[in-house]
Amino acid sequence: MIDGFIALYIFMLAAFTGYEVIARVPVILHTPLMSGSNFVHGIVLVGAMVAMGRADTTLEISIAFLGVVLAAGNAVGGYAVTERMLEMFKSSKGKGTGKGAH
């Protein structure tokens, strides 16, 4: 369903999106943001799951198992540390804390 130029268009638009989303970020958020984008590529988990679901031989299943373990670590670990960091950012005015924002 995604082929040829459509795939290329998706790639290009996603690349510009990533650039624009990050472009005006203050330095104070660089570390959490790197961690956050690190979490986002944890979506590799769904790919590892599909690869494992289709694996047949022992070799394939073993590699895929390792892949799923690593991918789950990426997603869960990335979330855990990013959330911990962002939770601590508080304003002295007592409003606009991470929790209060919608």
Binding site: A14, F39, V50, A71, E83, G98
Partner: protein
Amino acid sequence: MDTIGADTLIQASYFVAAALFIFGLKRMSSPVTARSGIVWAGVGMVVATLITFLTPGMGNYLLMTVAIAVGGIVAWVTGRRVAMANMPQMIALYNGMGGGAAAAIAAVELFAGEVHGPTVLTLGVLGGIIGAVSFSGSLIAFGKLQGLIRRSFRFRGQNIVNLVILAVTTLAGAIIVVHGGAMPGHVTLLFVLALLLGVTMTLPIGGADMPVVISLYNALTGLAVAFEGFVLNNAAMIIAGTVVGSAGTLLTQLMAKAMNRSLANVLFSGFGESAAAGGTAGAAGTLKAIDTADVAVMLGFSEKVIVVPGYGMAVAQAQHKVWELCQALIARGVAVKFAIHPVAGRMPGHMNVLLAEAGVPYDLIYDESEINAEFETADVALVIGANDVVNPVARTDKSSPIYGMPILNADKAKNVIVIKRGQGAGFSGIENALFYLDHARMLYGDGQAKAGELVQAVKTL
């Protein structure tokens, strides 16, 4: 549920996940909305993962669930426990795991001979190589920052060796593509070489440059995930991976710029911890010590104090005491601000995380461009554990390795107090001319202990 229904549901959930990732990242770019950003992205991840179980024609469900549980639980426990000061290497570790997962997907698909067509095969091989490099490279980066690998292994011609490994890896990949896949020997060689390349590329890079490298591997993992997304025909992976790839590239450039280095310089020269030579000029005069009581008086009767924290403060675990001191000063009507240099921590923004952990509100924290003009109106610049980032030779001495690096103008304040453990030089081995200025005073001792004494002294004024 029939196959077509399941497929529509899966595609819809991936669409929602991709949208939530972009929305979440956007919210993460402001401190006010940042925490809700990661939560939204997390919702997207959970939805995508759960729905993937419905993919038609899959097996190995039990093992799959076990794998998710193992990886997830270990990562959750370590992620919750790690100290904020060790955050950079944890990010490297989780990122390397993502790269390894992308490489594993490529390996499974290539061994199974399931990848067809030269374009998809090329993307699969490329994603595999990049993922494997990111995996082993990130592990080395973790080892270095964690202190497990202390040396920087450098030898003549290391760039040529890396180039040769890269060339052979590419050749193996090209053969696989030309033959149309299903070549177990070549696939094995491809991954062994790619893993080796990640190691040899990362080992020579010094600890100070590691954040830039971690950020680069983060971008590379994103790209690898996107490429494997093409192989698996998975739009969520393509979009999320590409977004991270480009966002990560931009972040890497911003970080390199903040450290006054170019990316090529970081990757191929191996500075980072060896630039000790030269740069003692401008350090004329004597170091003038001061005691705690005098500092307390100076601070307590100031109108405006600017605190300049460095990584040394985090090493001494002094941030809580420093904030306590600032609260005591604020209670006396002193205006207190924090000035943060982009590379004050171990990566840009790391110091903000450490101060946030101590409870310092982010609106008291200013970056270099926001506050540099204010130093002239400050009564005291309190420098704690910072060194190179306040060294005025960066403005004046062309022979210094840090010449041209943007610094905090602490020397422009009416008085400068430096809390420092001993008389040694900074991280880069360069003498600091600031400490020798006429209006600078040195308070020697452990950062945490001295800050604690100052709190008591200020309260009894």
